[in-house]
Symmetry: C2
Subunit: 120 residues, 2 copies
DNA sequence: TGGTAATATCACTATACGTTGATATAGTGA
DNA sequence: TCACTATATCAACGTATAGTGATATTACCA
């Protein structure tokens, strides 16, 4: 494990961190983030790609914008959203790896238990 | 930026990831995690350190246990909780860095704006 | 000016969840 | 068995928020 500094956070810092995690704690918002992985898109495009309602998509985009994860640009009647904090992908990758590890461990436990006392 | 693979997650995977983020989206739970940074502790110890109510601490610990972030060990009438997924600290560090970057950028913008047109 | 498209916001409902006091459960020692 | 400690769970309350249909706002075009 590399660079395991584990800085000790306290008080207000933890509140800020929790806030950021909360912004990423909705599947719909993660879908929007991943839809923007290959560049900026309009709200309409995102509505189509995520198959969500326009009002809902707009609201989730506002949350991510407020959290500093996304940026916004207006052109004509359209609004273009883009990723401004690329670290979200690192976060998701880390979580994914962790989930995989956990599932792999569960699988090992299950296999060991189900084969316990079974003839080899 | 190293190892920026950005794997593309879809459907159920995003749900799992969102779940994990949700487990980390409460300040109290982050406080518990950081209280456990230096080793396993009993519920009583955690109640004292976090200055929370016993019922509340117990419930938050259950959430983190279910999420796979913590592990539990019983000894006598006490329950010892410990970190089982060290990646949570990496996650928090990443978020912290990101928040710092954003605040630094805001500071630069503010300074530039407040000094605009001011005599040098 | 009137009409249309794109987006944001409002109002409302349903649900999830954090907090808290009270109670239940389990282990320990007298 | 009885009392005590530690922990988990229950019940109730209030708040936050996701989803949704309707409306407001803004830009563009005829």
């Amino acid at each position: 494990m590399a660079g395991n500094t584990k800085r000790n956070l306290s008080g207000a810092a933890l509140d800020r961190v929790a806030e950021r995690f909360k912004a990423l704690s909705e599947p719909m918002r993660l879908r929007l983030i991943y839809a923007l992985m290959d560049g900026e898109k309009t709200v309409s495009q995102l509505v189509t790609e995520t198959e969500g309602l326009q009002a809902n998509v707009s609201k989730h985009l506002a949350v991510l914008l407020d959290a500093g994860v996304l940026g916004r640009r207006k052109e004509g009647t359209s609004a273009y959203y883009r990723i401004t904090d690329e670290s979200v992908f690192e976060l998701c990758d880390l979580v994914c790896g962790s989930i995989e590890d956990r599932l792999a461990a569960e699988l090992r436990n299950f296999s060991a238990a189900s084969s316990a006392g079974r003839p080899s």
